[in-house]
């Protein structure tokens, strides 16, 4: 199974969260937004300057910077 992180997802692609890394604060914040193992995420679009990127997470559109989305590992 190809393992990658959320920042590598291209616009229009779906992924399933496998695990989160990073320090406790940012992990808690991401989990509170619904990014727990098993969540389906879709990359919607990148900002015109490349960062941040908008993702569809549990019915909401959330923008994440690359420095945070590298912590989200996908199946």
């Amino acid at each position: 199974m190809k393992e990658s992180c959320l920042s590598k997802l291209a616009p229009g692609e779906w992924g399933v969260v496998r695990s989160l890394s990073g320090e406790a604060g940012i992990r808690q914040r991401l989990q509170d937004l619904g990014l727990i193992p098993g969540t389906h995420v879709c990359c919607l679009q990148r900002s015109p300057l490349g960062d941040p990127t908008a993702y569809a997470i549990r019915g909401a559109v959330i923008a994440l910077r690359e420095e945070d989305s590298v912590n989200i590992h996908l199946k």
Partner: protein, 446 residues
Amino acid sequence: MGLTKASTGKGAVDCFSPDGEKSAGIRIALAGNPNVGKSTVFNGLTGMHQHTGNWPGKTVTGARGNYTYRGGTYTLVDLPGCYSLMAHSAEEEVARDFICFGDAEAVVVVCDATCLERNLNLVLQIIEITSKTVVCVNLMDEAKKKKISIRANQLECLLGVPVVCTAVKMGSERNYGYTELLERVRQTIKQPKRCSMPVRYGEDLERAAGMIAETLTVLCGEKINPRWLALRLLAGDTQAVRSAEKALNADIGEIAKDALTCAYADLEAQEIARETISDRLTSAIVQRAEKVARSVVKTENESYHERDRKIDRVLTGKCGFLVMALLFLGVFWLTIVGSNYPSGWLSSFFFQTEGWIYQGLLSMGCPAIFGEIFVFGVYRMVTRVVSVMLPPMAIFFPLFTLLEDAGYLPRVAFNLDKCFQKCSACGKQALTMCIEKFKMFYLYNL
């Protein structure tokens, strides 16, 4: 609104504290995610009887207001909007500390009916702390537009707390659901506190939490839910525990030390590492929120998502900057050109009236020198300022508010975030920058 003598006078800074004697009524906390219409509900209930200030020692603003219902006076404390009580921003700490230790008789959690699942995360966390919670599902009119329906009775059943649906305007009815909300809050206050367990964490964690909670029951008494405190200890949430220690004036770490060690040993024997406990607790809440939302929210129409995505592709895609530049240029152009006409009319009107007022003063026997000072000095300056300053303000701010209500401003923050990051700021500051730019230009043109 909020700008009363009490809120801006000399004593204003001191009296904003939830413990102040000024909060005469039964204390109710008002919590919820950001942008769910919490302020609207707050204003709708308290009207002019409110004032704003900073939470003591923090840079987080809050508001407190009174309302009366069926002979009782209630003090509504507007907590900062937050997505959870577990992360550690200033807003979340203020909200958590007030809900847990602020002696509120009840908590009203305002939710957005159009994205209930995300709001349920906070709702479940709050119900875990106190059973005296009322869930207010707001923005029902928006949900209706998007063909989203909420089964409030089912939600009430699943959560075990009262649920009220509200909207600022539903059909022809204004402040829909507000009276029912007041009534349910009144009833909730009368009920005794009970142990609420909206989320179950699996046998292993529940047993561990139970062990620790037993040692804390006496200490917590009626004030704090011992199960919640036990879970925070297990998760290693030192900040929450520290706040609890301050509130209860006890060394909780010491009291629960043995039980905690035992619990950790027990969990490790089942191969559950200490570091993963916090993640497991959070996951369980998110999963429960998903399950509840799935059974109470019915969406008939998926296509509105598509339309929003298409619009976003224009606003935040390759042409994003062009669209942004055009929009803002348009707003500034409308303001500058548009304000010329009313400025001209006001100027000539005030110029006419100058002569009349001067003649009037002279005919009343006022000495010429005073007449000149008043009319050609004071009056002229004031009217000049009004005719130049008022029209641009009256055009710019409504236009900007239109952009804000349409939801465009987060797209601006999204587009500009990278630039702001380079200055160690973040996209949100783009909005303050717009307003500052306008002010600069405005004052320059005076």
